[in-house]
């Protein structure tokens, strides 16, 4: 089945105000940067964004924050973004901070048809407030529910026209689970090849989870913390 669309405009068609979006990436690594730029252009507002981080002030989801397009963020760590902190402390932005492993598993569960699961993470902390607690093997766990989204937007290294995806290095992170959890999943890739060119043995995300795929026009791939050693 051919999932290819010609450009980012076509890929993101249908995204409207008040929708819930999942966006892959960890920090600025593996984020769908072409799609984020298009969301800024589209000007859709009051979005609920599920993403591990919130970008930095002038890149990644920070661009949507600056433009006041996000109503609510569901993330695990947002420490790199001053504008985020300002909007959160002033109450303009609703924020749900959840443990990173729980966030990953909640997306996976959403895509895998599992409505909820028990995890020890967050027991005894404010994360557990209002959640069911149950003991297994003498250890308390809390009930966490699955997450899904109207649209999941992921970024892969290579993809084929069937929507099969291959990620590179640690740019994989949240992308595979979010791809599973979107009612409609959009994949932007650096390299788009005809079906049959990717080795089926080495595909990370099967194309069944992807509804639209396009080749991103430009990838800046900004580095957040450039750390090096000298020769």
């Amino acid at each position: 089945m051919n999932k290819e669309v010609q450009n980012v405009e076509e890929a993101l068609a249908g995204i409207e105000d008040n929708m819930t979006l999942m966006l892959g990436g960890f920090g600025l690594c593996g984020i769908p940067e072409n799609s984020i730029a298009q969301l800024v252009k589209m000007g859709v507002r009051d979005l609920t964004c599920i993403s591990n981080n919130a970008g930095v002030d002038d890149f990644g989801l920070g661009l949507l924050l600056q433009n006041r397009q996000i109503k609510k963020m569901i993330s695990s760590y947002v420490g790199e973004n001053d504008e985020f902190e300002r909007q959160m402390l002033s109450g303009e932005l609703e924020v749900d901070l959840i443990p990173q492993g729980s966030l990953a598993e909640r997306c996976r569960a959403g895509g895998a048809g599992i409505p909820a699961f028990y995890t020890p993470a967050g027991y005894g902390t404010e994360v557990a407030d209002g959640k069911e607690v149950r003991e297994f093997n003498g250890k308390p766990h809390i009930l966490e529910s699955a997450l899904t989204a109207d649209y999941a937007i992921v970024k892969a290294w290579k993809g084929d026209t069937e929507g099969n995806l291959v990620f590179k290095a640690t740019a994989r992170n949240f992308n595979p689970m979010m791809a599973m959890a979107g009612k409609i999943t959009i994949a932007e890739v650096e390299e788009l090849v005809p079906a049959g060119e990717l080795d089926p043995n080495f595909i990370h995300t099967p194309g069944i989870f992807v509804q639209r795929i396009f080749k991103g026009e430009h990838f800046e791939k900004r580095i957040e913390q450039r750390t090096v050693r000298t020769k």
């Binding site: 920090g27 600025l28 443990p99 492993g101 990953a104 640690t170 090096v228 050693r229 020769k231």
Partner: protein, 218 residues
């Protein structure tokens, strides 16, 4: 003399055992990788999706797609593997990782830890810390004994929002190595030249002092 951050990392590195998979948090814990004792092999896991994390890349060889959980550019060692975040936390929650080293703002004598939030002030989020402390069997906290204001970070009970309950077993600070059990900090070792009185003065929680408290050996 109290240890510096490298000294704390070096002392923690003595806790590493051959064949262990280890997760190092941001800050002092990251430095532990610089002091792996001779003759043992460990592999570092970073929860954003790598096992077999290597040192920082040489200048000009940075790869935006290859970072650690602190978002720093890194390299992959021979035999390394990349995976998604759900798999990463399956390794952590499923107790396949042998040791977790992380920093803290406060640790209590009952093993509670607070390291993610100062109400009304800083809002960064817990990242993977809650998953790590809730699941790891073997957690070492690496931190300074007191905060910038000179107040003890080793308390009877945490005052900041908790990251996890009853999970910390060992704390290594610039002054001492302590084990947590029976609702108390048990002093195991002191930093070279640091007196028991210094440690007592800097510890607000209950401190159990055995007859013999050796100096750390490096």
């Amino acid at each position: 003399m109290a240890l510096d951050k490298n000294g704390i990392a070096q002392r923690i590195a003595q806790e590493l055992r051959d064949g262990w998979y280890v997760n190092l948090g941001i800050g002092i814990p990251t430095l532990v990788a610089n002091f792996i004792p001779e003759g043992i092999e460990v592999e570092f896991q970073s929860e954003n999706g790598i096992l077999g994390m290597g040192p920082f890349p040489f200048e000009g060889e940075e790869d935006a797609d290859l970072i650690n959980a602190g978002k720093q550019t890194i390299t992959a060692q021979k035999g390394a593997v990349f995976f998604d975040s759900a798999t990463s936390f399956a390794m952590i929650r499923g107790q396949h990782v042998h040791l977790t080293v992380l920093g803290a703002m406060e640790v209590a004598q009952n093993g509670d830890i607070a390291n993610w939030k100062i109400p009304g002030k800083m809002v960064k989020g817990m990242g993977g810390a809650m998953d790590l402390v809730a699941s790891a069997e073997n957690i070492i906290v690496a931190m300074m004994h007191t905060n910038r204001a000179g107040e003890s970070k080793l308390l009877e009970r945490c005052t900041l929002p908790l990251t996890g309950v009853g999970c910390v077993k060992k704390v290594v600070t610039n002054l001492a190595v302590m084990e947590i059990r029976d609702d108390a900090f048990h002093l195991l070792e002191r930093a070279p030249g640091v007196s028991i009185e210094d440690i007592k003065a800097a510890t607000a929680g209950k401190l159990v002092i055995p007859d013999n408290v050796p100096e750390m050996q490096f």
